[in-house]
Amino acid sequence: MAPVAPRSGDAVFANVERVNAELFTLTYGAIVRQLITDLEEVEEVNKQLDQMGYNIGIRLIDEFLAKSNVSRCVDFKETAEVIAKVGFKMFLGVTASVTNWDADGTSCSLVLEDNPLVDFVELPDTCQGLYYCNILSGVIRGALEMVSMKTEITWVRDMLRGDDAFELRVKLLKQVPEEYPYKDDE
């Protein structure tokens, strides 16, 4: 049996280099605002944030695996728990919860009630179509792809749009067998 994945990222977070969240929050905010100016279309901004997140995710996964002591997850269910409890904690210092599993265990929701990305943020009326935190979905998608899980991630709830939490729907599309991590021809 594989070793049990850690249930909490507290210890990991305590051991990584940390900085004041303000610099991160303001930097991300300034990037989003500049993207809106340069790309004009909110849809395009959403797309680029997702792309940036994806690029970050495929790199961050190494740091995550190295520092979190997560060797491998048994299945998608455990993977989701590890992302929520260890992944979010290790990088953002907050914890998400996993809910709303579908019957066959291939899609679930990650719910985030506290999110350092949006401290201070109030969306102007002109940006109503913006998924401000879209970088997060990209990061998760990218990171999971590196451990052979192809996923589709969509926003269900968004506090900047007046919801009571952030909710990401994560749907497992395809799990490439571990033995052939780079074979993906579909």
Partner: protein, 143 residues
């Protein structure tokens, strides 16, 4: 009771102005705020060379009128906070406490990535926080 608060930028451009009065004296209050800006400029450019107020962020009582007292605060980024109160007996500690909380709310408001520097603060959160701070003015337990 605080009847008016204002945030004014470094070029004396109004960033936020809110009255808290039912009486029909809004124009008068705005005029008082305008006049107090001159007092601030005067104090900052011609500081009394002695005394503890030299270069302090807290500017204290700017001037008393017949019915109002006006207090001011100047941040290191040259932004002015002003409030007008009808209270006649105002404790220094309450005023300092007010400005400390107000400054904190202001910093959070301008940290919104969609706030345009130098433009009016339109944040609803800021308006709510200001209103809370105004309501609790002078209510702190005696220190």
């Amino acid at each position: 009771m605080i009847v008016c608060v204002a945030v004014v930028g470094h070029q004396n451009n109004p960033l936020y102005l809110q009255s808290f009065t039912e009486a029909d004296d809004e124009l008068k209050l705005h005029h008082i705020v305008q006049c107090s800006l001159d007092v601030i400029d005067e104090r900052v450019n011609n500081p009394k060379k002695t005394g503890p107020t030299l270069n302090e962020t807290f500017l204290g009582l700017l001037y008393p009128t017949e019915n109002y007292k006006v207090y001011g605060y100047l941040t290191n980024t040259k932004v002015k906070f002003i409030f007008v109160t009808t209270d006649l007996d105002v404790r220094d500690a309450d005023v300092r406490n007010f400005f400390r909380r107000f400054h904190s709310a202001y910093v959070d408001a301008v940290s919104n990535p969609f706030h345009v520097p130098g433009k009016k603060i339109t944040s609803r959160t800021f308006a709510e926080r200001v209103s809370t701070i105004v309501k609790s003015f002078g209510m702190s337990a005696a220190a």
